[in-house]
């Protein structure tokens, strides 16, 4: 598999702010790659480095094997869907979508046809004559997508494209984007701070924190085997267990993560750990219990139908040793 975008020890510092700090990344051709992280962790800056709006202060950036640091944005075969869509207010939808072709000198008839096809692709046919100001947020987003796709980029960058949409629309768009990416085979680099979105859409995820990449992996790897407390905390509702607790029950003094669905309620006996129910929340298919275990909070998920103990009740829990994931971070 070819590498679409490669970061080698790339840094982008703004004065003392290390927006991106010595990041290594390999984004493969044709994959749906998500950059996940809290606000200010450097995701947008990474995207802007790929688009060419920022230059790395150190490191090497290659796009399809070619060094890209000195290539201006307009010569990169990369297009962006901006967070605020950035549609041209003075142009109608067709002219917005055809803009990239227009500046490349494509004939009027041909770019009109291409724009119509792109609008069809994003399920917005017949809207060509409208101004961006006459569209809803969701429609603007589709126009922004069509405007980028019409240029047949090798890499499409999306900066929190769904952030401004309401929940229902966002879920629809998630599926559509995913389907679009699969059918076009274009490499998508998708920035989000919503872990659910990243887990459900991406082939691989990079988790960012303070300008550094903490972990790169498939959604399953990231979810099941987070390599650090930060990833476990940020990505899942995983329980993060401190070294002293892990040492008492497993014997190794390391931070560990334990997914709530691995925690079982058991009768008192050998291996069972005493706990107190603090809270319970009915989630339809399951019930989530908040437990106090030796002063630590642990969440457990009970399948529907299992009797749910009342708040304040003493219970016992256990988990399979294999379900406890020891993290690299030492105690």
């Amino acid at each position: 598999m070819t590498t679409a975008v490669a970061f080698e020890k790339i840094s982008r510092h703004f004065g003392t702010v290390k927006a991106v700090d010595a990041v290594d990344l390999d984004i493969r051709e044709g994959e749906f790659f998500a950059m996940l992280g809290p606000s200010g962790s450097g995701k947008t800056t990474c995207l802007r480095l790929i688009a060419g709006f920022e230059r790395p202060t150190a490191g090497r950036l290659s796009i399809f094997g070619e060094r890209a640091e000195d290539v201006p944005p307009y010569r990169r075969n990369v297009n962006t869907v901006f967070q605020d869509y950035a549609l041209f207010p003075h142009l109608n939808v067709t002219d917005n979508v055809a803009y990239g072709l227009m500046v490349k000198g494509v004939a009027k008839e041909e770019r009109r046809r291409a724009a119509d096809a792109a609008l069809e692709l994003v399920k917005l046919p017949g809207y060509g004559a409208r101004r961006p100001g006459q569209l809803s947020g969701g429609q603007r987003q589709r126009v922004a997508l069509a405007r980028a796709l019409v240029n047949r980029p090798k890499v499409l960058l999306l900066d929190e494209p769904l952030g401004a949409l309401d929940l229902k629309l966002r879920e629809n768009m998630q599926e559509e984007l995913k389907a679009l990416q699969k059918s076009l085979g274009i490499t998508f680099v998708f920035v989000t701070h919503d872990q659910g979105e990243a887990l459900s859409m991406a082939d691989r995820i990079a988790v960012f924190d303070h300008g550094k990449v903490k972990q790169v992996g498939t959604p399953e790897e990231i979810y099941k085997t987070p390599n650090s407390r930060f990833v476990a905390d940020f990505v899942g509702s995983s329980n993060v267990l401190p070294p002293d607790f892990v040492e008492r029950h497993v014997g190794e003094k390391r931070w560990a993560s334990l997914r709530p669905e691995s925690v079982r309620l058991v009768a008192e006996g050998p291996g069972a750990i005493a706990a107190t129910v603090i809270s319970s929340a009915y989630l339809g298919g399951t019930t989530r219990l908040g437990l106090d275990v030796e002063g630590h909070r642990i969440n457990a998920v009970l399948p529907a139908g299992e009797p749910c103990p009342a708040d304040g009740k003493p219970v016992h829990i256990s988990f399979a040793r294999d379900d406890l994931h020891l993290m690299d971070e030492a105690g």
Binding site: F53, F88, D95, V103
Partner: protein
Amino acid sequence: MRSDRSSAPLGLKIAAAAGLAFLHLPLLLIFVYAFTTEERSYQWPPPGLTLQWFAVTWNRPDVWQALGLSLKVAAISTVIAMILGTLCAAAVSRTKFFGRETISLLVILPIALPGIITGIALRSAFNLADIPFSTWTIILGHATFCVVVVYNNAVARFRRVSGSLVEASMDLGADGFQTFRHVILPNIGTALVAGGMLAFALSFDEVIVTTFTAGQQQTLPIWMLEELVRPRQRPVTNVVAMVVVLVTLLPILAAYYLTRDGDQIAGSGK
């Protein structure tokens, strides 16, 4: 831009009508006196009506000279203002640098200052620098407030175009020149033209700053001021006043229509 359709109370309507009358009746008087047969004093009602003053005005070389100078000064200060004002607006809105707000304030200050202060300041500066008073000193004086007008018009539009629109254009393959032509210019064009027209109108009827920065030359408003104390051929001044009203009103109206609906900018018929 929705307007409030509910009707205003009667008292407010009367007040508005009175206000309008107060503003416009004197103007009307000026127009009427341009046709009077009485040339020494302004007598009401005019003893008779005539068109002769238009012919008299047409044949007065001093009127033509003053009009020519006024048009020249207004045109050149507007050009200077459009270049400098646009550059200032571009710099202030496109980049974030230390003291940006201060610069913005400094640019706007000349219009907030009374003209007499600007005039005195410029006059002493020209004196200090040993610059003889000429048409160019008038132009410099006018440019100080014309720049502000253009700047104010352009800066708001620039803010809207700056940042992500420019980046979007670059991202889609347009180089700097194409971005300027296809994105920046269509978005700020009308604002620039409007600013230029306002600047032209302001310069054309300026008196105070001109008084301080002119040598022997007379712009049209200054000529009118001098003419008022002369007892002969008074209605000529009124004819000229009508010309001034037209020359300043038309650009202002045009500017108003150009900037009225800011989000529907013409010139997109690609």
